[in-house]
């Protein structure tokens, strides 16, 4: 049985034109095929080693497109690690790279430990034997680092949160253990409802952590904000208004914003990483068509979309096309040019979107209500920077695994599956969380049995 494939973002964090995500392991190509498709239609698995394909990243079985990029395929043993390796390069910042990494992890790869690519390279005979010490140094230094991080103040809260969730799960598995292993003791029978209630409350806490991760990231790294709207609706004016500078080319000729302009803007306590896009409209200009396609991709990975409509005119076809692409959960509808007149039916927007503001970008009116809408749509208003939060993708992966096991527990319970299987699933969830602290579920469960139940002859 091969080692599971591992993945990580392999370019340094921060700005940069291109980010790369690397997957290594026997399943690497298979996993890559589930997030990336070459435009040529050729399967990655049929490509030779050392070859590249231009294609697009997608999500889900409907292949919703996220970005275009390049896949580099290396076949074992001819790769850095000696295993099958795929390097996926995507555009721009860390946002898309992270999204792609997350999809890769959801499709069966594990998050690479620090030093793991090098370790695998060594174990597969790709590095000289004298390099072994460098490898062990790398491994032990990184484990030291994560240990130190574990006891740091900011992580302290996370650990106590994780502890309180695992205690809950361990209590449940201790209950099952007592109930299975001491059937002749009068152990009160927990009803399916009680078990479900406990699972639900653990699920809520874990999903709060998972959501908090995104919010924490938003606060730490800025909010990936895409400004969308048809040409000449005032995107560049809004961008300039928010950034306070004349960066985008502001003109009355539609389609002058061809490329993406990124600005860091401080809005209240938060950093917006603003991206202005080309308008979404039908076009025969092939250069511009690529721009339009990429604008659509940006919409899908954005943390938030500021969708601009011209308040002084009726909706046209290109407005409607934009509306189809919007996700009401992360969209703020901005009805611009209120200074010219309000000829749009706002009730349609208010019925379909939670956040609708009316502004005049040119005159700088309505900025406050825009800020408020942003805050509330990101739920940052009640995000407490002091609350426990997951620090990295690895911790997020553990939390997600626990979440998935508990979801499965829920469905087993409601399907009436036997409880021996349920108990194993709950232990797997606890195990996922305890991986963060290096403890073992079985030992802790048995301790809890004897602490809580009066069992034994």
């Amino acid at each position: 049985m091969p080692e599971p494939a591992v993945a990580a973002i392999s370019t340094p964090f921060g700005q940069g034109g291109i980010s790369a995500v690397r997957i290594s392991g026997e399943e690497a190509i298979f996993i890559a095929e589930r997030v990336f498709a070459p435009f040529s239609g050729k399967a990655l698995g049929n490509m030779k080693g050392y070859t590249a394909a231009y294609g697009f990243f997608f999500e889900g079985s409907e292949k919703i497109r996220l970005d275009t990029g390049i896949a580099l395929v290396y076949k074992a043993p001819k790769s850095y690690t000696g295993e099958n390796v795929v390097e996926l390069s995507c555009h721009g910042g860390i946002f898309i790279a992270r999204k792609i990494l997350r999809l890769i992890l959801e499709n069966g790869a594990k998050m690479a430990e620090a030093g793991e690519f090098t370790k695998r390279a060594f174990l597969n005979g790709k590095l000289s034997l004298t390099q072994a010490e460098a490898v062990t140094d790398l491994i032990s230094a990184s484990s030291e680092r994560s240990l130190k991080m574990a006891v740091s103040a900011s992580q302290g809260k996370l650990w106590s949160k994780i502890r309180s969730i695992t205690e809950k799960l361990l209590d449940l598995s201790a209950y099952f253990s007592a109930w299975f292993d001491f059937p002749e003791e009068d152990i009160p029978e927990l009803s399916g409802e009680n078990i479900l209630a406990e699972i639900n409350s653990a699920l809520l806490e874990i999903s709060a952590l998972i959501e908090g991760y995104d919010q924490g990231r938003l606060v730490r790294e800025g909010i990936f904000t895409v400004i969308a709207g048809k040409p000449n609706v005032g995107k560049s004016t809004l961008m300039n208004l928010l950034s306070g500078e004349e960066r985008s080319i502001v003109t009355d000729v539609p389609g002058t914003t061809r490329d993406f302009i990124e600005e860091n803007v401080l809005l209240g306590d938060y950093v917006l990483r603003l991206v202005d896009t080309a308008g979404i409209r039908r076009t025969d200009d092939s250069v511009e068509r690529i721009g339009v396609l990429r604008a659509e991709e940006k919409l899908r990975v954005a943390d938030i979309v500021l969708a601009l409509f011209d308040a002084s005119e009726e909706l046209d076809e290109s407005d409607r096309r934009l509306l189809e692409k919007l996700d009401s959960r992360n969209t703020v509808i901005i009805l611009n040019k209120s200074d010219i007149g309000l000829n749009l039916e706002t009730s349609f927007f208010r019925a379909n979107f939670e956040h609708v503001v009316v502004i005049s970008a040119r005159k700088g009116e309505g900025l406050d209500s825009l800020k408020a809408a942003l805050e509330s749509s990101l739920r940052l208003g009640n995000f407490d920077t002091d609350s426990p939060s997951l620090a990295n993708e690895r911790q997020l992966e553990c939390a997600r695994n626990a979440y998935n096991f508990l979801k499965e527990t829920e469905s087993l319970l409601s399907a009436g599956e036997s409880l021996d299987a349920v108990s194993v699933m709950i232990e797997a969830a606890a195990d996922s969380l305890l991986q963060l602290t290096g403890e073992r579920t079985i030992d802790k469960t048995i301790d809890a049995v004897f602490a809580k139940f009066c069992v034994g002859k």
Partner: protein, 619 residues
């Protein structure tokens, strides 16, 4: 006085299995016991099996051990526990006739070729170049032996406590073995003190059964042994009684007279086998505790009070037993007592149960820090097999966590050690959906056959059973069940959605609400033996879980296949943390899988170890 290949010290449940396995593998074997009249004695509860323990008995049987057959023959009541909670946690338990069990096992030992039974107390070992050479008895006799298995139970330096009374004695009035401990220490074996206890035995006629609830055996009892063909007998009920507030008050008022609470016992007792005073103190909020009244056998009036072990003085015992409804006039025949004894720290052992420090010396049973007849028998079997295999120069038997509870038990002992007497529990096995009592033969009988403990006749019967299961599984994945009034009536009754189009038999069987026997008549399947239809049903229902567990097992086997050379010097490995170096050096794991389970060894340490070994040319 004679020369043996294998000498077994102690004829309890571990010693009997060890001696039988060794002799059956053709080695000249001697079994030493302080009293031939106490062979395979049950000094505590008169029962075999129970949760997880029932799994162990099935596994012992599947490997070719004796306990299952003997328990079937001596059973007077049989119950399958946890029947409704899922196949993985189902366990068989029988009440056994204690004397009959002894008689059956003694006869089996006596009839065994290559096996000599000796009533003698072994007081010392002689070694040569770090290997076992001979045994010395209290009478001065010297027996040559290439291997020795210590299965001394609770006999080493044993002390019995009843209130203020303390005296040297083994269990059930047998002599203690007071001299072997010193000799073992001289041979480099470190020992420690554990304690356990047992409740009183009372006279049947002094119990008012009309005031107690009876618990009968199963209507259709199944045997432990895959070989047993004659029906298991169900002859007697057990009874359930409860303590009350006045019982608890008597105990609390007299607590200072307990040697445990008075601090006179230093040994560590098991948490899962608490004395009644422990239960009352630690779980003060519980209004009552349950006890079972179990017959000790068919030819005796003695009854065992399960759940009521105590080391309080005899007068206090009588008072609190009599405060229980139904026991108002109870007469004690044997008092409850606590017993304290020497045992070893099992991290001194390899997973073969051989001591790391003395070649050819093995430990098994309570001497290794466990509790329970079944745990003991399982280790005895493994130690006996390994002593024999070593002398025959064959590869040792190391059972894995992934193929058996026995493997998990031994791995826990030698890798993590134990700080109290160790009891097997289903929750100790991460692979329990796969390691079920019903498939013990599928997991282990091929191994038992390869070792030489399974007869040809039995093995071909086993293969025929496998084939029948496979055939039926193939059959039901092909045939369909048509919607019918009869079927939809069953489905509705069980809250399962009715069907309108035909469905594959195996698809329908996957529904938790349906059994094989519900569907077989509707699909025109012939009646199959229970053992076949049970396997078919469980295989279908657990398919998804099993696939997942087998995947985990394959991953684990990968790290178990990476062996660590026995002469590795951990102190020279840079990058290992100090704690990891010390732990690894103490446990000396056989492979990376075992290394990763040592507490205090992190995944990063295992990675460092892996890289080190790779650099040295391993793997």
């Amino acid at each position: 006085m004679g020369a043996y290949d294998v000498a077994v010290i102690g004829a309890g449940h571990a010693g009997c299995e060890a001696a039988l396995a060794s002799a059956r593998l053709g080695l000249r074997t001697a079994l030493f016991t302080i009293s031939l009249d106490s062979i395979a004695n049950m000094p505590c509860n008169p029962s075999v099996g129970g949760t997880a323990k029932g799994h162990l008995v099935r596994e012992i049987d599947a490997l070719g051990g004796e306990m299952g057959r003997a328990a079937d023959a001596a059973a007077i009541q049989s119950r399958m526990l946890n029947r409704s909670k899922g196949a993985a946690v189902r366990s068989l338990r029988v009440q056994a006739d204690r004397r009959l069990y002894h008689v059956i096992m003694k006869k089996t030992l006596e009839a065994q070729e290559n096996l000599d039974l000796k009533q003698a107390e072994v007081v010392g070992l002689e070694t040569e170049n770090g290997n076992v050479k001979a045994l010395i008895t209290k009478l001065g006799a010297v027996y040559g032996a290439k291997a020795a298995i210590i299965a001394s139970g609770t006999y080493l330096q044993a002390k019995i406590y009843v209130g203020d009374a303390v005296y040297r004695s083994g269990p059930d009035g047998n002599l203690s073995a007071d001299m072997l401990s010193e000799n073992l220490k001289k041979n480099g074996v470190s020992l420690r003190r554990f304690k356990t206890g047992t409740p009183a035995r009372v006279h049947r006629r002094s119990v008012d059964f009309s005031r107690l609830a009876a618990q009968e055996g199963d209507a259709k009892p199944v045997p432990f042994s895959f070989e047993t063909t004659s029906p298991v007998r169900n002859l007697v009920p057990c009874h359930i009684a409860y303590t009350n507030a006045s019982t608890h008050k008597i105990i609390m008022d007299n607590l200072r007279r307990s040697p445990l609470y008075g601090g006179r016992i230093e040994g560590v007792g098991p948490r899962y086998c608490p004395s009644i005073e422990d239960k009352v103190v630690r779980f003060a909020e519980k209004e009552r505790h349950q006890l079972f009244i179990e017959p000790m056998g068919l030819d005796t009036e003695e009854m065992y009070l399960q759940g009521m072990s105590s080391s309080l003085p005899e007068d206090v015992q009588l008072e609190f037993y009599r405060s229980i409804e139904g026991l108002e006039n109870v007469e004690i025949m044997r008092s409850a007592y606590a017993i304290e004894y020497d045992c070893c720290d099992p991290t001194q052992l390899f997973p073969t149960l051989e001591f790391k420090s003395v070649g050819g010396l093995y430990g098994a049973g309570q001497f290794n820090g466990t509790s329970g007849y079944e745990e003991a028998a399982a280790q005895g079997l493994v130690a006996g097999i390994n002593a024999a295999l070593k002398i025959k120069n064959k590869e040792a038997l190391v059972l894995s966590r992934s193929n058996s509870y026995i493997g998990a038990l031994i791995d826990d002992l030698v890798t993590k050690g134990c700080s109290e007497p160790y009891r097997m529990m289903t929750s100790r096995s991460e692979y329990r959906l796969f390691l079920r009592q019903d498939n013990a033969d599928q997991r282990l009988t091929p191994l038992g056959h390869a070792i030489g403990l399974i007869s040809r006749r039995r093995f071909s019967a086993f293969l025929a059973k496998l084939a029948a299961i496979e055939q039926e599984l193939a059959e039901i994945s092909k045939i369909s069940v048509q919607p019918s009034e009869a079927l939809n009536k069953i489905l509705e009754e069980r809250n399962s959605s009715p069907i309108s189009a035909s469905l594959k038999f195996s698809e329908l069987l996957r529904r938790p609400q349906l059994t094989y026997s519900d569907l077989a008549p509707l699909a025109g399947r012939p009646a199959l033996p229970d053992e076949i239809s049970e396997q078919v049903e469980i295989t279908v229902k657990y398919k998804g879980y099993l696939e997942r567990q087998l995947e985990q097992i394959a991953r684990m086997q990968l790290s178990e296949s990476r062996l660590i050379p026995p002469d590795i010097n951990y102190s020279e490995i840079t990058g290992l943390r100090l704690e990891a170096k010390e732990k690894l050096d103490k446990i000396r794991p056989l492979n990376l899988g075992q290394a990763s389970r040592i507490s205090g060894v992190s995944p990063a340490d295992v990675s460092v170890l892996l890289v080190f070994l790779k650099q040295r040319g391993y793997y």
